[in-house]
Each structure stands twice: as C-alpha cells, then as structure tokens.
C-alpha cells in the first residue's frame, strides 16, 4: 500500500535531515572523539561555513575545491568551505600570528563538496578532525597518527588499518628519472585517478627507458608491511626513510595498524609529505585521511610545518554499524583480517571510552587567541 503523503518539500540532492535516532548515535561518536581530542590538548574551534572565495583559493585544493558559491550584498563571492584545514590555516595566520607553536586545534564541522551523492558520501558532510600546527616531521606526524588511532579505538572501531604514504615520493621519482616536465602532471593525475593502465600507457609513450618506466609503474603499487620499505630506489630513499622514522616512533598498538603504501596520493593538492588514509573492511571507501601540509600556512603568511586529519563521521558511523552486524562491504566474505599482519585487539567499548574521554572542567589548555 502506498503510504498517504500530504506534502513533500524537497531538499538539495546529497543533503539530508538527521532525525533523533541517528543524531543520538552520531552524537555518541562525536562526544567520544571530542573527549580524545581534548585529552590530547586539542582545542575545539568553529569557523564560518561561508568564506571569501579569494581567501580559500590561496590553498591548492585540487579536486576538493569549493563547489558552492554565493554573492553577498556587496557583490563579493563567498564559497561554502570544502574542508576545515584551509579555514584553520587562515585562523592561525590572522589570530595566532605571534603565538608560540605548536598549536593544536580540533573541529566538528560540516563541509560542502560537489560530489556524486552515494553511501557515506554527502554534499554536506560532517567532518571531525585535528590540526597540529608548528610540529615538523616525524614528531608531528607521529602525534597525529597516535591521536587518530586513539580516537578510532575509543569509538570502538575494531578492524581498521592506516595506509601511510608520502606525497613527495612519486614526484621525486619522476624528477630523478628525468621525466619531461609536461607529462609529470598527467602521470600524477593518472595515479590520483587510481588508473594504473593509464599510467602504463603514458609511460610507454614517454620515451623513458624500459627500466625507468617499469620502476615508475611498479613502485606506486608497493604496499603492505615494513618489507615494502626495503630496497627502495635511490630517489625514493628520503620519503621512505621519513616513513620509517615515523613508524619507529609509534607505539606498538598504533604501529601495527599501519600499512605502508608507496603509491598513496590524495586528491587534495596541499599535501607535501606523509599522507595517510583510514580503511576498514566494513566499508568500500576510506573513512578519512590526512597528512602533512608544510607549505600551506606560508600561503596565509605564517610559515609553519603542519599535519592533520579528518574523519568522515557518516562513513565512520556506517563502518561501526557494519562491524557490529558483521556484514560490511568487504567483511561478509572476507578472510582479509587473518591475512593481514597483526590482527589487533578487541577495541575498547564505546561506553567506557565515553567516560574516560569526557572533557573535564580543567580540560584542555587550548590555544589562547591574541586579542580574542
């Protein structure tokens, strides 16, 4: 029987209303995450959803650039933010110009992207994340990865893995193998599009020697345990050494979550060094990710190394529900968990994490804004 409907008022494609049952579950996740972030001294910030387009466009967002624009009453072009990293870079440059780094911020904010709406992918997406400003590699990267794992453990995600790569690796490889400038962008784009066949064809047409072409095709497909870091080709030694330095400094519980991935690139342009993504067998797409953006702050006038990550709350929610039911995308039929090294603990119960993660009155030191 068709339910009797009186009136439907549409909302834009890729957005949705969140009703109390879902809100309760989402709130449990975000409260837990907030507790972990605050315990690690990350102060929560809000910034406007609308920013001047000219300010946001100081950052190289590549494929994640803002998709929605409006005019204000003075005719200025405003854009809905597509992430929180760029607004926080702006905040640091304009409100913390003289503050002693490192600065630690966390956020829970809706961002807006012109994506094709699908499972776990909204045009208005709720992100939770941290930014650690003024802490260079490897220490800063180690801290970000540690907070990331503590956060995921606290919400009770069991089977996740962190893919760790370096955004400078493939460009360094192309540079040292004398790939012509004009085809470098094409090759990198093929890698970002996850198109190894396209990369292979471009390499075949590039006039490179067979060995060089084979190396450029094979190295970005190396991923797995620490063994992928051995016998790296000379131009990749620096980024690979950086990855090893990070890994050595991680707690064993964090380190065993890491999958090294020499081909990991993200579709956001401002990353300069280590990049990472969160995978869970309960979901067919990454739950979140992040990396180092050591040159972004300079574009806003304060040159500081930085690192951060963002988690897609909807995706995290779907993955948690999938693990709970044991029916995630790759789960039902998967023997991957026994395949991979270091099947990790049972994950802490969200309830207990809740209690310990609650911000206390003494809570965070936060970062005191100048003239705020």
């Amino acid at each position: 029987m068709i339910p009797r409907v009186f009136m439907i008022h549409p909302i834009p494609s890729g957005t949705r209303d969140v009703l109390p049952e879902e809100t309760r579950e989402v709130r449990a996740i975000t409260d837990t995450l907030r507790g972990v972030f605050e315990r690690h001294q990350y102060g929560e910030v809000y910034t406007p959803a609308l920013e001047y387009e000219s300010v946001l466009s100081r950052a190289d967002m590549a494929e994640a650039r803002p998709a929605y624009r409006v005019f204000d009453e003075a005719g200025a072009v405003l854009a809905l933010r597509s992430d929180m990293t760029v607004p926080i870079a702006r905040v640091v440059a304009s409100r913390y110009a003289g503050s002693e780094p490192p600065l630690r911020f966390c956020y829970f904010a809706h961002c807006y992207r012109g994506v094709r709406p699908q499972r776990g992918q909204s045009r208005e997406l709720l992100q939770a994340g941290i930014e650690l400003i003024g802490s260079p590699a490897p220490e800063g990267t180690v801290e970000a990865l540690t907070v990331l794992c503590h956060a995921l453990d606290a919400v009770g995600l069991r089977d996740y893995r962190i893919g760790l790569g370096d955004a400078s690796l493939f460009p360094a490889l192309m540079g040292s193998l004398q790939v012509r400038e004009e085809v470098r962008r094409d090759m990198l784009e093929a890698l970002v599009r996850r198109d190894f066949v396209g990369l292979e064809h471009k390499l075949a047409d590039s006039g490179l020697s067979d060995e060089a072409a084979a190396l450029l095709l094979e190295v970005p497909q190396r991923r797995g345990g620490p063994e992928v870091l051995s016998d790296a080709p000379p131009p990749a030694v620096e980024p690979v050494t950086g990855m090893r330095r990070v890994h050595e400094r991680l707690d064993p519980a964090v380190a065993e979550r890491v999958i090294f991935d020499l081909g990991l690139v993200r579709n956001i342009g401002y990353y300069t060094g280590a990049v990472f993504e969160v995978y869970d067998p309960a979901l067919g797409s990454p739950i979140g990710g992040g990396g180092r953006y050591d040159e972004l702050l300079a574009r806003f006038g304060r040159s500081l190394p930085a690192v951060g990550f963002a988690l897609g709350i909807d995706r995290l929610h779907i993955a948690l529900a999938g693990e709970e039911r044991g029916t995630g995308a790759l789960l039902a039929r998967s023997s991957a968990r026994s395949e991979e090294p270091g099947a990790v603990g049972d994950g802490s119960v969200p309830a207990s994490a809740h209690a310990e993660g609650r911000p206390t009155a003494a809570g965070t030191k936060g970062n005191r804004a100048e003239g705020a």
């Binding site: 599009r193 190894f196 979901l283 067919g284 797409s285 990454p286 790759l330 039929r333 395949e339």
Partner: protein
C-alpha cells in the same frame, strides 16, 4: 569460499563474458557452472558475481566485489568529465587485452551528412549510448553537437534521419557496413580492464598482487 585467493570477482555478462571466463579458467577456477547457468547471478563457491558490464564499476566501488572485469568504454562513460565532477572510485589495474573494439564517430556513406550539418547549421545531431564520452569528444575537438541518447540499436537513428552521425563501439565494422555507415573518426580503443575496490586494494594487497602476477605471466606467455 574457494574463489581465486579468496577474492570476490565481478564478471560481466555479454560480449566480454567468454573472454573473462576463459581467463578465470586459466587462473584455475572451476568455471563449468558459470558457463552453463546463464540465469544464476551469485556463484559463491567460486567467488564470482555476474552482472551487466556497466554495473561492474558500481558493485566494485561499493565493495560488493574486490575485483571486476569491464570494458574501457564503460569506464570512460562513468569517468569524471569535468572539473569538480567525480568518476567511479575504483583502481584500474590491468589492460586485459581481450574484447578489443573502437569507439568511433560514424555517418552514412557518401558526402558526410554530419559535416554538412556542421557547416550549414553549426551543429550536428549525434545518437549514442555513450552520451558523456561523445559530449567530451566534441568538446575537446571544439564542435557543437546535440547528443541524442538511445538505449537500443544506434544504427537506426541516422537511417531514419533523427541524427546525422553516431558515436558507438565497433569490433569488426560489420554492423556499420550492413547499415551503410562508415567510420569518420576513431575516438578511443577499448579493451577489457581489471578494476579493484580501493579499500580491498590495500587490505587484500597480497592476494590481489598474486592474481596480477599470474595474469601478467599469462599475458607474457601470449594466452591471455
């Protein structure tokens, strides 16, 4: 489940089916039921699910299958075609070589009616099952085209005067010749491709790389 290395593979019904099943058989999979039972969709004991070729990227992207085989034509049609647009988020791992066809622009033999339309009217009408590939091609080559999307036999459209040209896949050229159509431009060569779910590509790296190595060996030996 006794699939290849415990992987789940999305197999396309239709033109690529034979080539795909032959390949799976050479990899050591028992494909007898797959060949004989056309109505069955899920072959859980061998880790295979079957579907239309154009659905393969959808199922692989969602993680319902770790790997899939589909045509480059399907991937091109579902790829991002402009800034800010998103394509299917799957890895394209290997050109499998079989199912080779060409995406072409074709029109009726004799003086090219598409050229005439373009010259006199400034725009040509083009029928196709690949509206995004066609639109992208005309945009790149700086010509105005009105794309008419059809689901069935594309050859019918120019013969009835609905359009001046078509963009379609051709393997042998027989269908085009039968309908008195000739190839005016080649847009892309399309073969079968192996695609992978981005999370499976990381979490099942070992099995996927073993399968890739086997396929490369077969291809080097000239049988795949």
């Amino acid at each position: 489940m006794a699939g290849i290395h415990d992987l789940t593979i999305a197999v396309p019904r239709g033109a690529l089916f034979e080539g795909t099943v032959d390949m799976l058989a050479r990899l050591g999979l028992d494909t007898e039921e797959l060949r004989s039972n056309e109505r069955k969709l899920l072959f859980e004991d061998i880790g295979v699910i079957t579907m239309r070729p154009s659905d393969v990227p959808t199922y692989v992207e969602a993680g319902a299958a770790d790997l899939g085989i589909t045509g480059k034509d399907v991937l091109l049609e579902q790829a991002a075609h402009g800034p800010g647009e998103e394509g299917r988020d799957v890895y394209e791992l290997l050109d499998l070589g079989f199912g080779r066809c060409t995406m072409v622009l074709a029109s009726r033999a004799g003086p090219d009616p598409a050229l005439e339309a373009l010259r006199r009217l400034g725009v040509m009408r083009v029928a196709t099952k690949y509206p995004r590939v066609a639109a992208g091609h005309f945009e790149r080559t700086g010509r105005q085209a009105e794309i008419v999307e059809v689901k069935g036999s594309v050859e019918l459209a120019p013969l009835t005067g609905v359009v001046e040209a078509i963009v379609d896949l051709t393997a042998t050229g027989d269908t085009l010749r039968e309908h008195n159509l000739i190839v005016r431009e080649e847009i892309a060569v399309c073969t079968a491709r192996l695609v992978a779910n981005p999370v499976a590509h990381k979490l099942k790296a070992g099995p996927i790389d073993r399968l890739l190595a086997q396929l490369r060996r077969l291809s080097a030996a000239g049988v795949a």
